[in-house]
Amino acid sequence: MNVNLSKKQDLLEVRGLKEYFDINMGFFRTRPLKAVDDVSFSIRRGETLGLVGESGCGKTTVGRTILHLYKPTAGTVVYDGMEINDPRSLKEFRKKATMVFQDPYSSLNPRMTVSDIVAEPLDVHHLYNGKKEREERVLELLSLVGLNSEHASRYAHEFSGGQRQRIGIARALAVNPEFIVCDEPVSALDVSIQAQVINMFDDLQDRLGLTYLFIAHDLLVVRHISNRIAVMYLGKMVELASAEEIYRHPLHPYSQSLLSAVPLPDPRKARANKRIVLTGDIPSPLNAPSGCPFRTRCRFAKECCAESMPPFNEVENGHFVACHRIGEL
């Protein structure tokens, strides 16, 4: 799979990314778990790329491997023309790319004050001269996410889930990043709070010109926030297209059933919705099926699907799909 997706305005390019974890099978035997298997895509400057899929499909691993929180097994990450391959480029990259985590409860150190949590990236990268400047920067960051100076000296446990997620976002913004990996940043929040945080992501993008990789399993939220959406299944990317395109006209059988399974918050539409209910569970990535990973649950699977992984081809302008039977369906 060697698709050239890169265009001039691309901020981040991922080529043939693989991340295998060694699973201990006992007595010096290990087996690779292919969490991410040969994934290529690019993100344009200023856009939001949504990454969706079920748990265990490798979407979080993609986010973490891009930031080199896991060392990639194979493949390259090119950021703004610079390949990330040595400690120096990694340090530069980490000043420009940060992450917001899913769980606002476990991702903040309970022993640190909010001001120390938010200033930690500044400390690591030596981004201030003197205490006063550090303090000013912390207050500036807190006001950016709708918190104020009286919050700075408190501890994380004193805040609600939505406020904690704001602290996590302030920390991610500390180094003035250009690119943020958002790993399910709103799934732990209540509906009314979720909308506040989503709007904040929108505003910050407008004000600071940020680029997001937005990982989530709530497809309505992803559609709302993303320009383009990529769908993953069992470590592979199966479809990539603009958000509207993928909702109106999904091509991969997995994307079709995934989208039809979303319960619509509208009783008349929900009653009329013809769901394509998949049978069975997602297979274990340790025993992934041969060929197309989705073939065991696919309505259209044929013999050819078991033989080889379908290539990730551009079937329409900007619409990529990996399916052998795409021409026939």
């Binding site: 079920e54 748990s55 609600s160 939505g162 406020q163 209540d190 509906v191 009314s192 709070i193 979720q194 909308a195 506040q196 989503i198 709007n199 929108d202 399993h217 497809l219 309505l220 939220v221 559609r223 709302h224 059933s257 995934l258 039809s260 399974a261 979303v262 319960p263 619509l264 918050p265 509208d266 009783p267 008349r268 539409k269 929900a270 009653r271 919705n273 769901r275 209910v277 998949l278 049978t279 069975g280 569970d281 997602i282």
Partner: protein, 334 residues
Amino acid sequence: MALLEVKDLRTSFFTDAGEVKAVDGVSFELDRGRVLGIVGESGSGKSVTAYSIMQILAPTGKIVGGSIRFDGQELIGADENHMRRVRGNRISIIFQDPMTSLNPTYTIGHQLMEAILLHTGRNKSEARDRALEMLTLVNVNEPHKRLKQYPFELSGGMRQRVMIAMALACEPDILIADEPTTALDVTIQAQILELMQDLQKKLGMAIIMITHDLGVVAQMCDEVIVMYAGAVCERGTADEIFYTPAHEYTKGLMRSIPRDENNGQRLRPITGTPIDLLNMPRGCPFAPRCENAMKVCLTQRPGIMDLGGSHTSACWMNYKDTAAACAAPEGDKA
């Protein structure tokens, strides 16, 4: 007469910090064969309402008032023997997290048969047959093999099916589902919801569906009650709640979820943070977050107003005279 009539239910938790009124005056009826949705955010009292009906509250919790009549009989104050005959037999419950609600040290078969042996006159081999029948009913593949397996050997969706099989084994009149699909992926969620709808039609039971997901409510429920801070703020058919919401909180919820109508537009979230039950405001509990709050909202709690049919709402905005009298919007929402 309705199958279940809950009237002015009040449940409090007595903590070191004081009395927390988790459920504060909840009333509803449920008829046979209907699906009632209870929606609200965390801490709104939706789960505590369900636990109060089953009387499985934590030791600090106590029902302090109201009445729960099930099939004509009062459950509050009923002796433990009576409750034992109701629980798991005529009213059963499925919990949110299928991993922690199954016992990891017993096989699936043992746990399924336990309820059957306890509540029906079946002997062991009949109970085993019934357990197999139930597993087949909920579309678990290879049911014979599953009976001998332990919970950790099954996937999340499979465990939730086992929970449903267990809850339905005694053909209850009411099934309470407490966030049954929150821990599951969308495609598995679709399977489980479809299964619940099928079984509901087949067995004709009533379902109380507790969830915060408005999509699940739209798909499953005939009637909906919306809860905020332990009280019901609006009640109506699913269509009334979704298309003509009357309470400001319900309206806010509808505006804050991404859907087709507001695609590409900015969401309009409800401002502020969820309420602290230890520090309840004097007036309407939602007033501090309400964008249309008036003076009266801050001082007096609105009563429940009938809007025709089964649609009710507890919001001062629905009282036309009051709204006119207190037209000056309250600027300072302190």
